[in-house]
């Protein structure tokens, strides 16, 4: 199942990261996981949150530009070689990875969760499931987080 990821443009200056996080905090929106990509000049903050529609509204109302992208959360074995095995399957399927980042912890014991941004998320979903990778649902991840 795909997740909606929110991306924000940030200038590379002290304090820029706080504003969106604070806005979400005030609105009572939980950040499930995030990653920050940066260059010398600017950064892109990518967020997976509970209630992405409301989060988007909150962020846009503070004047931020929000980009919504579909990403795919995949469960991998939490052991040496676990991630490599998943990546091998992705590579064999001929799926391009734009970027990826990890969840703080996977939903099940012994498992980790990785967020992938694929070039073609829909095709990725079908072929990766066919190859035995477990695709996580929003509920899997969000419930885990709320515990």
């Amino acid at each position: 199942m795909k997740l909606q990821q929110l991306s924000l443009f940030l200038e590379n200056r002290p304090g820029q990261l706080r504003a969106p996080c604070e806005a979400l905090g005030k609105a009572g929106i939980d950040i499930v996981t995030m990653s920050l990509a940066d260059t010398a000049q600017f950064g892109i903050l990518r967020l997976v949150v509970k209630d992405w529609q409301r989060a988007r509204q909150v962020l846009e109302s503070t004047g931020m530009v929000v980009n919504v992208t579909e990403v795919v959360p995949i469960e991998v074995d939490d052991r040496p070689g676990g991630l490599a095995a998943a990546l091998a399957a992705i590579e064999e399927a001929g799926i391009g990875v734009e970027y990826m980042y990890a969840f703080a912890a996977g939903p099940r014991p012994g498992k980790a969760a990785i967020i992938f941004r694929f070039e073609e998320p829909d095709r990725a979903l079908v072929v990766l499931q066919a190859r035995g990778l477990r695709i996580l649902s929003a509920e899997d991840l969000l419930e885990k987080k709320s515990m």
Binding site: F9, L10, E11, S61, G63, M64, T69, R117
Partner: protein, 440 residues
């Protein structure tokens, strides 16, 4: 209902002088020129002194071409004679004063008799009529009311046209948008950069301004590319209006529905194009500095006023039928120009380059710095929803494309910095496009 109550394109009687045969117009111009030169000679000491120095008397103006022999008036003359030194009427006849925002020191003061105000109102009626406005239109006037001429000039013109005028003045964007939606506004007067800001907020607030049909935008230079973008994005017709306080305020020139240059109200303001270096009058069609002479102004006649605006007179007649000559859109003022590494740059060129790259209405700011004796030009460009991507690569591509477009137009290496949306200051009047931090 009379003819001028008809929807857009209807003829307004005040617009009759727009269509005078050129020969008749020239007769009126000469008659008025002779009168205004005599008046200035009689009442304005500086002007008389300069005429005498050249061995000239008002009687030497026998034809319109004799104007080229008269001395110029420049902005410094207005400052030097602050506040009332160039007035040609006694205070008892002056009914209004306006003043410019002097960025350095004292402002420039301009004066109007009742007859001057009547002319101003007349040219503003003709201005609005040329933009297809008429009785029944609702004009939101977001030009500043006060010492600035924009607010009151547009106000009385709109009322005299028979339109409904909302004197909202500048600022308070949320209220502007609420009024625009709730009052069914059909026409808006403001600076083009402020309209971009309104458009942006209207989208965020999901407001409906579908009744808005015409924008009368001026008080700062803007490019043709910007107009095309504004029209495509908003669905309105965006007209360029030209004016300056020293001459009258708004209402010196306006585009008609053909949007191919601005018609000058030549029966009141006589244009010349000169070489800014030599002061020589250039042939029709050549680009140079616009010089204007007020033909009917009483309180403060301006003879050969150097506007610093760079343009050209369009020799061909306009398809709209007006016989008034046109000037090309003023993309630049000789004042706005800056020189970097020996290259002359106008902010409007930067705007044109940015608009060549896909995306949307640009908010930009130019910063000039000097490092180790070398000038650097940086253009800050706000990231818009249309161009923002979650991929670093896409943003870096955008940055490179903008830099390439700027280099192509300017012939200079320019650093583009992407900045957060709404991080650049929004102006409610004239946009400030350049910060020069170079220490000379």
């Amino acid at each position: 209902m009379s003819a001028w109550n008809d929807p857009p394109g209807g003829f307004h009687p005040a617009s009759a002088p727009d269509y005078l045969p050129r020969v008749r117009l020239a007769e009126i111009q000469l008659q008025r020129l002779q009168a205004v030169v005599s008046r200035a000679y009689e009442h304005v000491a500086v002007f008389r002194k300069r005429m005498v120095e050249r061995g000239l008397a008002p009687s030497d103006v026998r034809g319109l071409s004799d104007l080229a022999r008269l001395p110029f008036t420049v902005k410094a003359d207005l400052r030097d004679s602050y506040p009332f030194g160039l007035f040609a009427s006694p205070m008892e006849e002056i009914v209004r004063l306006h003043a410019s925002s002097g960025t350095t020191g004292k402002p420039i003061v301009v004066a109007y008799t009742q007859a001057d105000l009547d002319v101003w109102t007349e040219v503003m009626v003709r201005t609005f009529a040329a933009c297809g406005l008429h009785r029944g239109d609702v004009i939101q006037n977001a030009y500043g009311y006060g010492l600035f001429t924009g607010g009151l000039g547009a106000h009385y013109g709109g009322e005299a046209l028979g339109a409904t005028v909302i004197p909202i003045s500048g600022g308070n964007t949320e209220r502007q948008l609420m009024v625009m939606q709730d009052f069914g506004v059909t026409a808006l007067c403001c600076t083009p950069s402020y309209f971009l800001h309104l458009l942006e907020r209207a989208r965020e607030m999901k407001l409906d301004f579908s009744r808005l049909r015409v924008g009368v935008f001026g008080a700062e230079p803007w490019s043709e590319a910007m107009r095309q973008r504004i029209q495509a994005e908003s669905g309105i017709r965006a007209y360029d209006i030209y004016g300056l306080s020293e001459i009258v305020g708004p209402g010196v020139g306006i585009e008609c529905s053909h949007q191919q240059g601005l018609h000058l109200f030549e029966d009141h303001f006589y244009p010349e194009i000169i070489d800014p270096e030599s002061g020589q009058v250039l042939p029709e069609g050549a680009e140079g500095e616009l010089v204007l002479t007020t033909l009917s102004k009483r309180a403060m006649p301006m003879i050969r006023y150097r506007t610093r605006d760079v343009t050209a007179l369009v020799p061909e007649p306009c398809a709209c039928g007006r016989t008034l000559r046109r000037i090309r859109r003023i993309g630049r003022r000789s004042d706005d120009m800056f020189i970097i590494r020996g290259v002359n740059v106008f902010p409007s060129q930067v705007e044109t380059a940015l608009l060549q790259v896909e995306g949307t209405l640009p908010h930009y700011h130019i910063v000039l710095t000097r490092e180790a004796g070398l000038d650097r030009m940086e253009v800050k460009v706000e990231v818009t929803p249309e161009v923002f991507s979650d991929k670093i690569r896409a943003l870096e591509n955008l940055q490179r494309k903008l830099e390439a477009a700027l280099e192509h137009v300017l012939g200079l290496r320019v650093q583009v910095t992407l900045v957060e949306p709404r991080s650049l200051a929004r102006s409610e009047g004239k946009a400030k496009r350049v910060t020069d931090q170079r220490k000379v």
